[in-house]
Each structure stands twice: as C-alpha cells, then as structure tokens.
C-alpha cells in the first residue's frame, strides 16, 4: 500500500514538473503571436478616428511603446506573480472576468457535453458489441465514424438551423433567455446556482439553452466512446472470466451486464483523459456557434478586438485548466488501474 502511494506521489510530481515548461512555451507563444498578428489594440479600443496624440498617450500608458523584449519580460513577471492584468477593452480584471463569468460557463458546457457523450456513446457501444456484425452494429459503427469526422462548426450550425430556426424547439444561442436574470453567483454554473437558490424556472431556462451546444459537442465526442466501448466489450465478451461465468450457468443477460459490460467500462476514464483536450477545444468552437459566453467565446471576441491581456489571460487559464484536468484524470486512472499503478 505504501509503495502504491509513493509511486502515485512521484507520478503526480512528475506531471506537475512536466507541466511547467509546457506552460512557459504556451505563454511565450501567445505573447509573440499576438504581437506579430496584424491589428492594433489601441485602434481597436479607441476607434479609427481618435486623435493621434491621444492614441500615443494610451500606447505609452499600456507599455506598448517599450521594446518587445521588455514587454515580454514585464509580461512574464506579471504572469509569475499570478497577475493577469486588466482587459484592454473593458478595463475589468482579466482574472475576475474569467473565473467568475467565462470559465464557469465553459465548465457547465463541458460537463453537459460529457454527459451527452457518455449517455449516447456507452449504450450504443454496448449494443454494437452485443449485436456484433448484425444490422444494429453496422449502423451504430457508421454513426460513430461519421459523427466523429463531422466538423463541429458545421454540425453545430446544422443543429442550430434545424432545431433553433426551423423547428424553434431550442434557443439558437446565449445562456439564458432575455429578461431572465442570472442566478446569484455561487459556482458560476447557472444550472447549479439556480438549483441551489431554488429557482426552478431559471434552472430550466439554463438547461434549455445548454441543450443544443451540449448535444453538438456531446454527439461529436460520443463517436470515440462508441468505438472504445464496442472494442472493449468485444474483448471482455471473449474473456476467460466471461466464458467461465457461462460455464457456471450464469444467465446470458447477467454475463453481458455484470461481467462483460462492467469490465469494458474500466478504460472509460482513460478515454476521458484523452478526450479532455478535444472537449475543451470543441467547446471553443461550439461556444462561438451558439454565442455561449464561455472561454471560447471570450477568446474569439478578444482576438477580434486585439485585447492582448484578455487573450493572454484566457489562453494561460485555459492551458492550466486543460493540463490540470488531464492530470487529474490520469491520476484517477493510475489509482483505479493496477497495471498503471505498479
């Protein structure tokens, strides 16, 4: 037992140590990309017709007249004191904006998307395995391949068009209907906050708005789960313990559900780890399609408005979160799978 904890600790430690250079590279990369990209933050802030002198003054105030390396060092110093600065466009604290408002929105979207992905992917994968090479299997496999290959933008747009505009079943964008006030901030996740404060109508409205974006992202991700669960279950269905259970006269339903299915679920955590980056990247695209005001929406908006500090802050936080999440999943995984543990 002690050994397991020890190796787990060194595993966590190595993950953290590896994350630092990774972050540094990302931070540097974002900084220079934003400087090299065409467009002027001051012009974006003040509009094209502002007086030149005024522009110059602001430029100086923001430290944009300093040599690039100086700007870079200032920026690094800032980041390492965990100060993400304030937005060039709104003047708000970048950290507050992100953590109070935008990140919780993304978290909410990714959670619901994961629920959709698992809720669709696992049962379909299971059916495909049990009905191996039958019609159901072929259809499900095809669905899995096609859905995975679809561009998120396009797929989101199609769902939006069909269910939002054409059928009008779901809203086409936003997190809440106009006129509905966001619930008091507790976690920043509207569904949770509205439930915590007992506001059912806000909860339902938030859920209604989450539906299309979560289905878009969730369905795309479900392809991977379908495939993996199917393959895992084909393996467990042929495993020695499944055959032994059959030899004990265990009912075929129980053989499938208790032995084959449960064992096939073990690697799901691993897939989730591999899917984390895809999930967050997908969230960026989905949010833009549905004007869902999360990290992706913020990122795209800030890039368009040359809000250097906001872009930098968003990328840094986003990277840390992705690294953190995949790290956590890996550790959970190391904990439940003895083959990784030792």
């Amino acid at each position: 037992m002690a050994e397991r904890k020890g190796s787990l600790r060194s595993y966590i430690l190595s993950r953290i140590i590896l994350a630092i250079p990774m972050l540094l590279i990302i931070i540097t990369f974002v900084f220079f990309i934003m400087r090299v990209a065409p467009g002027d933050p001051v012009a974006a802030m003040l509009g094209p017709h502002a007086p030149l002198a005024y522009k110059e003054k602001l430029r100086e105030e923001l430290g944009l007249t300093l040599p690039l390396y100086q700007q870079y060092l200032n920026y690094l110093a800032q980041v390492f004191t965990l100060n993400l600065g304030s937005s060039l466009t709104t003047g708000d604290s970048v950290a507050t904006d992100i953590f109070v408002y935008y990140f919780p929105a993304t978290l909410e979207l990714t959670i619901f998307s994961t629920i959709v992905a698992l809720g669709v992917g696992i049962p379909l994968g299971k059916i495909a395995a049990v009905k191996r090479d039958k019609k159901a299997d072929v259809v499900i496999r095809l669905f899995g391949i096609i859905i995975y290959a679809l561009p998120i933008y396009w797929f989101g747009f199609m769902l939006q068009l069909l269910f939002g505009y054409y059928l009008g079943i779901f809203p086409t964008g936003g997190r809440l209907s106009p006129g509905i006030t966001p619930p008091p901030h507790i976690t920043g996740l509207y569904t949770i906050d509205s439930l915590l404060t007992g506001n059912i109508s806000t909860f339902l409205d938030a859920l209604w708005h989450l539906a299309l974006p979560s289905i878009t992202l969730g369905l795309i991700l479900s392809g991977v789960f379908i495939r993996t669960i199917r393959v895992n279950m084909l393996n467990t269905l042929q495993s020695d313990y499944v055959q032994a259970a059959r030899a004990r006269g265990v009912d075929e339903k129980e053989v499938i559900n208790r032995h084959a299915y449960r064992n096939a679920l073990v690697p799901v955590v691993t897939i989730m780890g591999m899917e984390i980056a895809l999930l967050f990247a997908g969230a960026v695209l989905t949010e833009t399609t549905y004007s869902f005001k999360g990290m992706g929406y913020l990122l795209v908006w800030s890039i368009q408005n040359r809000d250097y500090t906001m872009v930098q802050g968003a990328v840094i936080v986003y990277s840390i979160i992705i690294i953190l999440f995949s790290g956590i999943i890996d550790i959970i995984n190391a904990y439940i799978d003895p083959r990784i543990r030792y």
């Binding site: 042929q238 313990y241 030899a247 004990r248 006269g249 064992n263 073990v266 003895p338």
Partner: protein, 334 residues
C-alpha cells in the same frame, strides 16, 4: 447406464483459413464416480471437447452428435435446460485460474451470482454459509471470500474455482489442465484435493491433461486424443502396459526415454486440422503405416474387452511382445 455418453461428437470452427475440425467424431462413455483421463498434444482439441460438453463454444463453432447426460441428449434441449445443467450437473474448471475470475468481483460475489443464477430461493446468508464450508473443504479460509481475485495466488485461485465448482454438488467435474499453470508443489496439492473431493462428493471427473504422470496418478480410464479424434481408450493398465495404438506407444516411449512426463519428443508435427490427412491422421508420423493407412480411416473398435483402438494394425501389433512395460504403473493400476 453411463452417467455421460458422447456419441460421434463433431465440433468444427469456421475460421478465415477454412473449417477447423477440432473434434471429429468422438465417442466415449463415463461411468459414475470414475475418473477419465484425456491426454493428447497441444491443439488436438481437448479444450474444444471440454467446452463442447457444456455447449459453451464460441459462435464460430458448429457442434453435432450426441451428448447424453443421464439419458437425455442435451444438444436437443432448449437453452434454459442447458443453462441449468451447467454447474448443477456438470461443472468445469480451467487451466488458467488467473483469468477465470472476474477481476472486479470478490470471490464471494462469484458464489452469490452462481446461486442467484440457479437457486433464487437460497438466501444470501445461506449461500455464504455454504460457500464458507466449501472454502474449508478446499483448504481455504472462508475469509478469502472477501478477497478480490488479484489478491490470491494461482493455487488459491484454483482452490477457489474448485470450491465454486462444488456448490451444487455436480455429478461430473471437467477439469481442463487444472494444474498446468501451477508449480509442481501446488500441482500435487491440487491433484490431491481433487481426489479428496471426488470421494467426498461422489463425482465423476474428466481430467484433461498432456501430462502422463498426472493421468497415471489420477485416472481410472484413459482416452488418448490425436488430431480431433480419440485413437485409443481403455483402463489405466490397458493404456500404460498394453498400449495398442502406435501413437500411444510413442507417447509412452517418450516418457521412458526422456524421464520427462511431458509429451514433447514425438517426432513430426500433428496435422493441420483444416486439411487433415485423408486416411489415418497419424499416418504421416506412424512408423507402422502401410498403404491402406494413407487411403482409408480406421474407426475406433474394441480390440479387447473395454479397450478400444483406431488402428488397422492394432491386432498385429498386439501380437508383438516387445511392448513397453511400465512396472510401477501396472502394479498400481491392476
């Protein structure tokens, strides 16, 4: 009436390379409280036969013939009848206890599940009490019921598998190389245990192995399998002291010459089961093969009472008195 009569059993796998005739016309009987040893080289169809007797073959397998258990041909029965037979009348233990228990389930859950599948009315406490007693009879502490499979050694797992096999006091225990993956000391213990429970539970045992030493120790009768067929079957003494089939003689010869009890030194390779030789399947390796052996197949026929052989030249060979004599085994068997 025999406990189990197998008649002309064929089990063919369809594979991408063609049809694998893994068991091809096997016939034998097993009596109550008797141990039948089945020996043969790797790949001759022993495990396929074992699985076939419980009809738990993979979907690619096609089974035909008769398996008559207690007077009923189980292959003609509906699924549910077959399911009940498994474990209640015929239990199976396997070569590799390491992989035969579900890694996510405690040992006791294997017992509980087995009870649930067969005897719904048995309460959980009662089932656990029975399980605990069985653990005692196989030399394990009932506490082991609370362990996960990976917490047990190979020997402990095989004991647990045996305890599990005994829950409904089956009439027949099929053991497919039950000790192959264990070290010699544990192997001896498990074999001893099997002999003990056989008496205690009044079971018949089909013991599948490629180890002649084990057969000599355990079996009352012996069937020798070659390339999907039984080529010789008889009492332990018949097979070890008066073997009739050239293949059996070869096996025993290799035991003597090498002092190893594994079947490794037979010259040549067993035939491909997709395209077996047209005549006698052993002909390509047989030192006694004649023209006839290449063209037609010998059938299993009683040469002496209770001793059958599938060889055209068996009677001729019986005349020869240069046959191997294993004194120690003969004494024990006779």
């Amino acid at each position: 009436m025999s406990l189990l009569s197998v008649r002309n059993l064929r089990i063919y796998y369809s594979s991408s390379r063609g049809i694998v005739k893994a068991v091809d016309g096997v016939t034998f009987d097993i009596e109550r409280e008797e141990t039948l040893g089945i020996v043969g080289e790797s790949g001759c169809g022993k495990s396929t036969l074992a699985m076939g007797l419980l009809d738990i073959l993979p979907p690619s397998a096609n089974i035909s013939g008769e398996i008559i258990l207690d007077g009923e041909n189980i292959l003609e029965k509906e699924k549910e009848y077959l399911r009940k037979i498994r474990h209640e009348k015929v239990a199976l233990i396997f070569q590799d206890p390491m992989t035969r228990l579900d890694p996510l389930m405690k040992i006791k859950d294997h017992f509980l599940e087995t009870f649930r599948s067969h005897k719904r009315d048995v309460k959980e406490e009662e089932a656990l009490r029975i399980a605990g007693n069985l653990m005692n009879s196989v030399g394990l502490s009932p506490e082991v019921l609370d362990y996960y499979p990976h917490e047990l050694s190979g020997g402990m797992r095989q004991r647990a598998m045996i305890a599990l096999a005994l829950v409904f006091n089956p009439q027949l225990l099929i053991a497919d190389e039950p000790t192959t993956s264990l070290d010699v000391i544990v192997e001896a213990q498990i074999l001893q245990l099997m002999n003990k429970i056989k008496k205690e539970f009044h079971m018949s045992i089909i013991l599948i192995t490629h180890n002649l030493g084990i057969v000599a120790e355990m079996a009352d009768r012996v069937a020798v399998m070659y390339a999907g067929k039984i080529v010789e079957i008889g009492s332990l003494a018949d097979i070890f002291t008066r073997p009739l089939h050239p293949y059996t003689r070869g096996l025993l010869g290799s035991v003597i010459t090498l002092e190893s009890r594994e079947l490794v030194t037979m010259p040549g390779e067993p035939p491909d089961l997709i395209n077996p030789p047209k005549g006698c399947r052993f002909a390509p390796r047989c030192p006694y093969a004649i023209e006839m052996c290449m063209n037609s197949e010998p059938s299993l026929q009683e040469a002496v009472k209770g001793h059958s052989v599938a060889c055209f030249r068996a009677l001729e060979l019986m005349e020869e008195r240069d046959i191997l004599y294993r004194g120690d085994i003969a004494e024990k068997a006779d």
